[in-house]
Symmetry: C2
């Protein structure tokens, strides 16, 4: 058996997230079907992590094991792009070591959240329009507070199966690109719903409905009920996943 990494991007609008589930279209299922058809072997891809319904991935990594010899992975990528619909694009396939793992080998994930400053008929399926527009400086002050904490229970969905709620935040900032406000956050791991709950709570700060002190108290309370409402998933993108050099060098 040889293990392959597969780099892809997907428009999550029509999917019920990454992870396979009965009676609903998911990216994992479409990829399993296309790879199994192409390689004529039952292929089960393992993803770098879940994404929620409607959330997009500008960059996503999965791995799969196969006994089928693949002399030219770029040909498999090309054919896979013809088997999958418009909403999934396969960008690269390459062999890795048998213990390299799309999820467990990942060093960090980066998400971006997009806010349209004005009504925009071309970006509205990938961004959320917020009114009144939040103060980006206030939200960036909140970003700086995030680095003081590791337990983000307050921004996690209740009743998930993780053993602890500790995350190390590497980057978190808002920028104004002219047409949009964009939030970028990188961490070693994310809890379920975490980015959308953080953005929802930060918007309250940016709209003067919550103080910085209140923001810190919410985190310290370790109680999801205290945080702001989650923002919609259609404006959230999994943007990047970092792997160790030894995997990157395999590309």
């Amino acid at each position: 058996m040889v293990r392959y990494f597969i780099e892809l991007a997907y428009n999550g609008s029509k999917f019920h997230g990454w992870q396979i589930q009965p009676d609903a279209p998911t990216v994992q299922e479409e990829l399993n079907c296309a790879l199994s058809t192409l390689l004529r072997e039952n292929i089960q891809v393992v993803g770098a992590g879940r994404t929620d319904t409607g959330v997009h991935a500008a960059y996503y990594v999965a791995h799969f094991d196969t006994s089928i010899l693949i002399p030219d992975p770029s040909q498999v990528a090309y054919k896979l792009n013809r088997l999958t619909g418009n909403d999934i694009a396969i960008n690269k396939i390459y062999p890795v070591a048998e213990d390299d793992h799309a999820r467990f080998s990942a060093l960090s994930r980066t998400y971006k959240y997009f806010i349209d400053k004005q009504k925009n008929p071309f970006t509205c399926t990938f961004a959320w329009k917020v009114y009144p527009l939040p103060d980006i400086n206030l939200m960036n002050e909140a970003c700086n507070q995030l680095f003081r904490y590791t337990d983000f229970t307050s921004f996690s969905k209740l009743h998930t199966d993780v053993t602890n709620n500790n995350c190390t935040i590497y980057q978190a900032f808002w920028e104004d690109t002219g047409q949009q406000l964009v939030f970028t956050i990188e961490a070693n791991r994310f809890l379920r719903n975490m980015v959308r709950a953080i953005v929802g709570t930060m918007l309250q700060i940016g709209q003067n409905k919550l103080s910085l002190e209140g923001f810190c108290k919410i985190i310290e309370s370790k109680n999801r009920c205290n945080a702001g409402t989650s923002v919609p998933g259609h404006a959230l993108f999994l943007w990047d996943i970092k792997y160790p050099e030894k995997i990157v060098n395999r590309k």
Copy 2:
């Protein structure tokens, strides 16, 4: 009666073009309805020109006459954005002289056509994927030939009601933006279907199926049957419309 210019943008995916027609959604109809509801008067907007089914406008101008006093046009724009769906955005409304005309006062129109170089799940509703990828240098040589001509009958839809097929091309070029090939063309006027027929014919040149000499002969033949197939409308944007200084200064 006071005449107003209204600047807007629209995602053409769900519209049967700009111009009102029975039993099909059009931008003109949605705008007429919203303005009439808001101003409580029967308003008929006049557009800068037609766009075909599925074609988008990043910038569009229409005018309307009203006897209703509008003390703050930006408030009308704001309310209009709430009355119209996600696919139309009103960007500005301002009073003009009574003989300023959205269509007849326009000095030039600019269109852009977008080609995705790779499968892309985020841009595929606004760009066309072409395979094999055309040679952009060959297509730019074809652009230079366009300036030699004014009669573009060969790139016009048959049986339209215009009295002549003369257009003056001001700009025409292809550029490679990294992810996409983008065609920009500016002219005083465009014939129906003209940009899509020009792009379709240029792609034949870029894919070595047609020579530059053959391209010129097609134009000189003044026969639509000789030109290449029209490319799909979903990748075409009306991008800009230029008006005389006296109108621009009214903004």
